[in-house]
């Protein structure tokens, strides 16, 4: 991690409690431009809450969330969000808009000229390998993989600095999933954006974090260990990590990080 660069997204002792249940204990986290950070852990560990706090969809009870060095607040959150791209399971597309309208919604809202919108859409369709013809269809007419590509295009439309993914491949069948994983990593590399990605699948985490990325394993609102995947595997900081790794048999067959780190 390039710690000498000013962080893009920073959590400073940020915590969140829902009706006496600690979702996120005071958390320190830093993501610099170009970083990839994968939040992993069992469901309910607080990883999605972290993402929602980064977007200002939730506000921390204590501590701070900073974006580009600025304290995130209701006053500046709209502007900040326009520099973030958010992709959820199935893309979170608007069912009443076609794929193209989904992608261009924000640009139209900001009154971009039509030519610029069309040019950007074409660029992004090529980048995400979405057939142009799919842009005229409604979300329900697209396949799961296509919806995810549209969601990615929408997130990239305004050329944000930070991409936030919440279980982006959660409901996609394994074959399409492998293909999408490859495409996502390629997009990350080509666009050189900072990425925070949430998943519960260690092999997926390993895949996305394989180059320079870090993995933070969370449990009950706390980050138990943050580092390279192989560090987590070889020198677990907590017995739970050993258990979590052992419970993920696919790691051995998936895109394991070992070959690259040797």
């Amino acid at each position: 991690m390039m710690t000498n660069v000013a962080p893009l997204l920073q959590f400073v002792g940020a915590s969140k409690t829902f009706e006496a249940v600690v979702a996120v204990a005071p958390l320190d986290l830093s993501v610099a431009p170009g970083d990839t950070l994968v939040l992993i852990g069992p469901s309910g560990c607080g990883k999605t809450t972290v993402l929602r706090m980064a977007l200002g969809l939730l506000w921390p009870d204590a501590g701070q969330v900073r974006f580009r060095g600025e304290l995130l607040s209701p006053a500046n959150v709209q502007r900040a969000r326009r520099s973030m791209g958010y992709v959820v399971q199935e893309g979170g597309l608007f069912p009443h808009l076609t794929a193209g309208q989904n992608v261009s919604l924000m640009a139209r809202h900001l009154r971009w000229p039509r030519a610029r919108i069309e040019q950007r859409q074409a660029e992004l369709a090529a980048l995400t390998r979405l057939p142009i013809s799919a842009l005229g269809r409604y979300p329900f007419q697209l396949s799961g993989g296509q919806r995810q590509r549209v969601g990615l295009m929408r997130a990239l439309m305004l050329d944000p600095d930070l991409l936030l993914f919440d279980e982006p491949l959660g409901s996609i069948d394994p074959l399409v999933r492998a293909e999408l994983q490859q495409d996502l990593v390629r997009v990350f590399q080509q666009t050189a954006k900072a990425v925070v990605l949430v998943t519960h699948d260690l092999s997926e985490a390993a895949f996305f974090a394989r180059d320079q990325g870090q993995v933070a394993l969370m449990r009950q609102g706390r980050v138990l260990q943050q580092g390279r995947v192989e560090e987590l595997v070889r020198s677990p900081a907590d017995p739970f990590i050993t258990k979590f790794v052992a419970a993920q048999p696919l790691l051995a067959f998936g895109h394991a990080p070992e070959p690259q780190s040797k």
């Binding site: 969809l57 969000r81 958010y86 959820v88 069912p95 919604l105 809202h109 979300p139 329900f140």
Partner: protein, 531 residues
């Protein structure tokens, strides 16, 4: 109701639709005179003389006679025909919304003065003076309440007097709603004669005759001037204990009106004592049995009395097409203006309700309560606040339209998947932009369905507007019920149904144009799963 023929069944349905039993003051179905155009008003230099009549044929005829007489004296006059029951007309008179209406001495004594005092003209006149109300001399006839039976039935049971009824507690009584609740009606009669009748039901006066003829009831209340007495060969039971007070027909008027239009009152005084019971019964027969418009009946009477020439100009019935167009215009105005206002208010209310759940429950509950008020009662409540005519009708329709629109707006917005709303927020859209670009479009199908159902219900409910002088398709319906004229009922009922269908069709079309394909036929909001 047991009245069985299909024709009658239809009338009853129309009446039930009107929420008839809810309010005795307007229990009698009412309307504005059907065919002819309004009484020709002289070029008015001020507000016209406002005459009203109560909601039954005889009162409407008397109102027309008075209107024609005043008009003949060169004074602009408007007739609010069949305005409502006693209470409604009296309130309208005292509050100055009308200047005069025909009533009966017995009614004045019992219903207005609550039985305090003596029922002769001079005493009543003195008692009304403090209210700013004057009372004319009798038109010339006494239209008392009476009980009537089919002659054959009465003869078979040897019933001649009301006292004789005591021997026959099993007789089936069908009494007009107003008679049932008036102190000079059924309750007083039961007490005076010590009657113990088990089988009593309330029904419309006009329906009661049919009920007698078809042997669904044995006894009903009558007015002694009713034309049907002779037609149906009815026996009028003698009031042997002298319970029913006199019901001399008189005109109640505002004393200040007499000062404003002295010429009108001079002409009206000429009318006193000129209508005897035979003349009144004949006029009732022409209107009710021969289905002539009240105005024409009144005009013929005035003309026969050798009043000035040119009087019956107003009696010429207007063209039927013209009347239908006019009613359509009135009806559409009632529906569209009230609906428009309801949309403007209900949409923001629905949005607020969706955003603030606790406030939302309150709003929905409050509007739900309005919906539970019977439509007829709601209309009547509007009269002291807003007078008579289109305004109270539109206000009532507006209130009725709120619920479906607020409820559907609320449901449409609340039904949007949270993930979709988050995605919109995460794009950096403001709350307003999210509402405008994502939430409202997603809820549009549901909201339109609410507006559609409000509109369709409105078209039906607007027929009740005729009861408060708002016109529309209700006018022929209620006149038809009053005159027992089935084709006339259809003249209102058919266009009202067609209009409801047209409104439904128009909204389906609007939905097709405005709502994106994926949201049209009941797709879940926010769901994107297709595989």
């Amino acid at each position: 109701m047991k009245l069985s023929s299909r024709h009658l069944g239809f009338i009853v349905v129309v009446k039930l639709m009107a929420g008839e039993p809810a309010e005795t003051a307007t229990a009698r179905a009412a309307d504005v005179a059907p065919e002819p155009p309004p009484v020709p008003a002289q070029p008015a230099t001020g507000p016209a003389f406002q005459i009203a009549s109560k909601a039954f044929t005889e009162s409407v005829i008397l109102g027309e006679v008075v209107a024609l007489t005043v008009s003949a004296a060169g004074i602009a006059v408007e007739h609010r025909a069949a305005l409502g029951g006693t209470r409604l007309c009296w309130d309208a008179l005292v509050s100055g919304r009308i200047d005069a209406y025909p009533d009966y001495t017995g009614t004045v004594l019992q219903e207005i003065l609550h039985g305090q005092g003596v029922g002769d003209v001079a005493s009543l006149r003195a008692a009304l003076r403090p209210h700013g109300v004057g009372l004319s001399g009798s038109f010339g006839f006494n239209n008392a309440y009476a009980l009537g039976m089919r002659h054959a039935r009465a003869a078979a049971a040897s019933i001649q007097t009301i006292s004789d009824l005591r021997q026959h507690p099993g007789l089936r009584f069908g009494l007009s709603d107003e008679f049932m609740s008036r102190r000079d009606g059924w309750p007083g009669l039961v007490a005076r004669y010590g009657l113990s009748i088990v089988n009593v039901r309330g029904l419309d006066h006009d329906l009661a005759y049919r009920g007698l003829a078809e042997d669904h009831i044995d006894v009903t209340d009558l007015y002694t001037t009713d034309a049907e007495i002779r037609r149906d060969n009815l026996s009028v039971l003698r009031d042997d204990l002298g319970f029913f007070p006199k019901y001399e027909a008189i005109l109640l008027y505002r004393l200040d009106a007499e000062q404003r239009w002295p010429a009108a009152f001079a002409a009206l005084r000429n009318l006193e004592g000129k209508i005897d019971i035979a003349a009144m019964r004949a006029m009732n027969a022409r209107a009710k049995l021969d289905h002539l418009p009240e105005r024409q009946v009144a005009a013929d009477f005035v003309a026969q009395r050798g009043a000035r020439a040119g009087l019956n100009a107003g009696a010429r019935p207007g063209s039927r097409t013209g009347a239908v167009l006019e009613r359509t215009r009135e009806h559409l105005t009632l529906v569209s203006l009230s609906l428009l206002a309801a949309i403007l208010v209900a949409l923001p209310l629905g949005i607020v309700a969706a955003r603030r759940p606790r406030l939302g429950q309150l709003v929905l509950a409050a509007i739900g309560v309005v919906q539970t008020i019977p439509s007829l009662a709601l209309l009547v409540f509007m009269i002291p606040l807003l007078g008579i005519g289109a305004l109270p009708a539109m206000t009532a329709l507006f209130l009725y339209s709120l619920l479906p629109i607020v409820r559907n707006t609320h449901a449409g917005l609340v039904g949007i998947a949270p993930a979709v709303r988050d995605s919109a927020a995460a794009l950096g859209l403001s709350r307003w932009a999210i509402l405008w670009r994502v939430e409202l479009p997603l809820a549009l199908g549901t909201i339109l369905a609410g507006i559609k159902s409000a509109a369709v219900i409105n078209v039906g409910t607007a027929t009740l507007g005729a009861l408060v002088g708002a016109g529309g398709f209700g006018q022929p319906i209620f006149t038809g019920i009053r005159l027992d004229d089935f084709p006339l009922i259809l003249q209102g009922a058919v266009p009202a149904s067609l209009l409801a269908l047209a409104v439904q069709g128009a909204f389906d079309l609007v939905e097709r144009v405005l709502v994106p394909a994926p949201l049209r036929s009941g797709r879940r909001y926010g769901a994107t799963r297709a595989d």
